[in-house]
């Protein structure tokens, strides 16, 4: 059970809201400023990917964000209804395309949190789970 659940409409303007909400919850949970900054970027990446992914298939269902806190970590999940994809970053950064942004996004997701898991949802779409250990 998530401690906090937040559903944002699938629009880019709402990504900032999710980012601020998670930052505030993470700070309250005891993460330091640098870890909060990193998590903000990771949440922003996951939400941007979800919104763009929904857009790609014309899905207007909300992006579901969950915030959980265990004894040792903060876990944030971001789920969409867009197309299922293989979360492998491309090694070719030379195209300047949407794919390139996505590859950079995956690089950031895998670097900025302690664990990033990207899996298809049973009922369609993808779920990104971001884990940050508490100090």
């Amino acid at each position: 059970m998530s401690l906090v659940e937040l559903a944002i409409p699938s629009g880019s303007v709402y990504v900032g809201v999710a980012r601020l909400a998670v930052a505030s919850l993470a700070r309250e949970a005891g993460l330091g400023e640098e870890a909060v900054d990193d998590l903000k970027i990771a949440v922003s990446e996951a939400c941007a990917n979800a919104v763009l992914s929904n857009q790609k298939v014309g899905a207007s269902s909300p992006v579901d964000i969950g915030f959980e806190r265990s004894q040792s970590a903060v876990i944030v999940s971001v789920a969409d209804r867009g197309p299922v994809y293989e979360p492998t970053p491309a090694d070719d950064f030379d195209t300047g395309s949407t794919e390139q942004r996505f590859a950079m996004s995956l690089e950031l997701l895998s670097s900025l949190v302690d664990d990033c898991l990207i899996v298809p949802r049973d009922d369609g779409g993808m779920r990104v789970s971001l884990t940050v250990e508490l100090p």
């Binding site: 880019s12 303007v13 990504v15 900032g16 980012r19 640098e34 900054d37 903000k40 970027i41 922003s44 990446e45 939400c47 941007a48 919104v51 763009l52 950064f93 300047g96 949407t98 390139q100 942004r101 996505f102 950079m104 996004s105 690089e107 950031l108 670097s111 900025l112």
Partner: protein
């Protein structure tokens, strides 16, 4: 959430002072501004990120796109950034090798051959 974009000319360069957060919502505004500059003939561009509080892959994508545009005209695109949390994003994605990143606007506008 607003993104501040101020353009001024320093020497032969167009300097864009960016203020605020660059994310999936605001990045298109930055892209439009950079495309406008190039279409008006500014091929040597400095993007000043000192007033930026937040940057993610959507902003990086816009900067890479703009770099390609100016390079197509034998131009240059350099950045001003000293904030560690923003520099970190360029380091993780390997873009510190792609963009000349300066620690002051003076250094960026004085640099040759960027």
């Amino acid at each position: 959430m607003e993104l501040g974009l101020d353009v001024r000319e320093i020497g032969s360069r167009a300097v864009v002072d960016v203020k605020g957060e660059i994310d999936v919502y605001t990045a298109p505004k930055l892209r439009e501004k950079l495309i406008e500059l190039v279409s008006e003939g500014s091929y040597d561009v400095v993007v000043n990120l000192e007033g930026v509080d937040f940057l993610d892959s959507t902003g990086l994508g816009v900067l890479v796109g703009a770099l390609k545009r100016v390079k197509a005209h034998d131009g240059s695109l350099s950045l001003v950034c000293t904030q560690e949390k923003i520099l970190k994003i360029f380091k993780i994605t390997g873009l510190t090798k792609v963009f000349p990143i300066h620690d002051s606007l003076d250094a960026a506008t004085a640099a040759q051959g960027d």
